[in-house]
């Protein structure tokens, strides 16, 4: 094919993606809090909570990112249950560090426990953008994107049941997958995975040898 942009080594700068962030900054002003470009690969921005719907509208109408990829959320709380790989054999090979993990909010930073992020794409320019937004810890509520993208309807319902974040203005915010009387929000980090609690995982050390390499390191 004609496309020869596939580069083995990432270029140091990325004009298209830098321009995308700059254009978004012009439109949103202070509401654009942070931008991060992984040159030649991807771009992230974080916008103010109040400007979430505006950011979506600008991305769709001004930047031409008309394709709605997905919308989801991240719970940045370090898991209170450890990494769930603490079989005796694993601890021997990979002792747990014992440090108390700090909450860090990824490549564009953040101030809250929950962040909602969405992926938009341009089908003509072939460029994708990940938008992130902080969800206030006290209200856990955000403006809906259903007025911008029809597809946001189901994605926001999924985030609602999995993380307990509500979307103001959503036409029918109810559970998508789980039964109506299910309690809790499974994708939150403090929601325990009970099957791991009752029976330890076989372990990470039980890995196969590399292909073509004699398995002399004692895999068996």
């Amino acid at each position: 094919m004609s496309s020869t942009e596939v580069t083995e080594t990432a270029p140091a700068s990325d004009e298209r993606r830098d321009a995308l962030v700059a254009r978004l900054g012009e439109e949103l002003g202070d509401a654009l809090i942070a931008g991060h470009v992984d040159a030649g690969r991807d771009v992230w921005v974080r916008v103010a909570t109040a400007a979430w719907e505006d950011a979506g509208r600008v991305a769709r109408d001004v930047l031409g990112l008309r394709y709605f990829g997905f919308l989801s959320a991240i719970d940045w709380l370090p898991s209170p249950y450890g990494r769930s790989l603490d079989a005796a054999i694993d601890l021997e090979a990979e002792p747990a560090s014992g440090e108390v993990e700090q909450m860090e909010q990824g490549v564009t930073g953040g101030e809250t426990r929950f962040q909602v992020f969405a992926r938009l794409h341009s089908v003509t320019e072939h460029i994708g953008l990940t938008l992130k937004v902080d969800v206030p810890n006290d209200t856990l509520a955000l403006a809906t994107w259903t007025r911008l993208f029809g597809g946001a309807n189901w994605h926001e319902r999924e985030v609602f049941e999995m993380f307990g974040i509500s979307f103001e203005g959503h036409p029918s915010l109810r559970k998508l997958y789980l039964p109506g009387d299910f309690e809790g929000h499974p994708l939150r980090k403090d929601f325990p995975l009970l099957s791991r609690m009752v029976k330890p995982w076989p372990g990470i050390v039980d890995v196969e040898g590399m292909p073509g390499v004699a398995d002399d390191e004692g895999g068996e």
């Binding site: 496309s3 991807d42 790989l85 089908v123 997958y177 791991r196």
Partner: protein, 390 residues
Amino acid sequence: MTAVTERQQLAYIANQAADMRVNVELETEGMTLNIGPQHPATHGTLRIIVKLDGEQVVAADPVPGYMHRGYEKLAEVRTYPQVTTLVNRIDWLGSFANEVPFILAAERLMEVEAPPRAQWIRTILFELSRIGNIALFLGDMAVQLGAVTPVFYAFRDREYVLNQIEAITGGRFHPNFDRIGGLKDDIPKGWVAETKGVLTKMRAFCDELDELLVGNEIFTARTRGVGVIPPEVGLSYGLSGANLRASGIDWDHRRDSPCGLVYDKLDWKVWTHPDGDSFARYWVRLQETREAILMLEQLLDGIPSGPIMAKVPRIIKVPAGEAYVATENPLGEMGYYVVSKGDLVPFRVKIRSASFNNISIVPWVLRGVYVPDVITILASLYFILGDIDR
């Protein structure tokens, strides 16, 4: 003037009453029809609640979740190599294709690149999965419309493709073959020649279905103009793959962002159709299957020599970072948003599966259609339940 007898009066009243009863029956009330969760048209257990006015659909509300397995949660307690076992089972008809974007995302975070030979074999398996997956759709769509024969051809011929996948990976449905940095194994002796024979059979299969269905009067009557999705609506719902290309949008991840796979070294084209109806979606998938056969012929002739694994540590720790990698899977765009904190396990994996978005448009597209077209439209959107529920 004739006197009206009592008998005539009674007959008159009886007629009036009968008329009223008929009118009452003709005046239709809203009716709720429950399709699924166990219904052949749902490929698994999707339930759709349809509100009808006569024969017309007023509102449709799909209820997914009967097969929700919580892979996003489970991935948080598994090491990176263990995750491929899970994601195999998302779109179970094109399982190998599910592994690739996850592995590519992990490789991007680790700054590892698979050697050329591994990239070629990955692409070969990817396209074989596509043929195996879409072949079933090509037959299944016909059976939803009442033509039984094509589905038998589809099951028969898909088996040849599955045999080839099994010959490399050892698994017909769940290969679990992709590794960070390359592949588990090399291709066996004689496999290339055998696969070329299978491609000839699959090309004949496509021609057979083309003759059986595409020119068939009943098939075109039932699909043309049914379930039209305009391009703007498709984009707003995040439709992808053949569903979007059938609405005239010329976009394919394989051509436009071929990260990690070798599509840019092949000579092929992206098929689109301007109509956006059920027929267009069938037609585009048929052409894509043919295109995949064409690609495979070039791929099989050009496999470079060399190792199939890059140097990666035995116990894999992925550096902290975030990456989203999407590929053009048989059902549409499939991507993984991987957040790593530098540990053995991913911190968060968001699985963006194609069918989830493709089916979220159902309430929109079913409004105002007639009951028989419901099944046509569902079949033409082509979804796999595991790909909706994850």
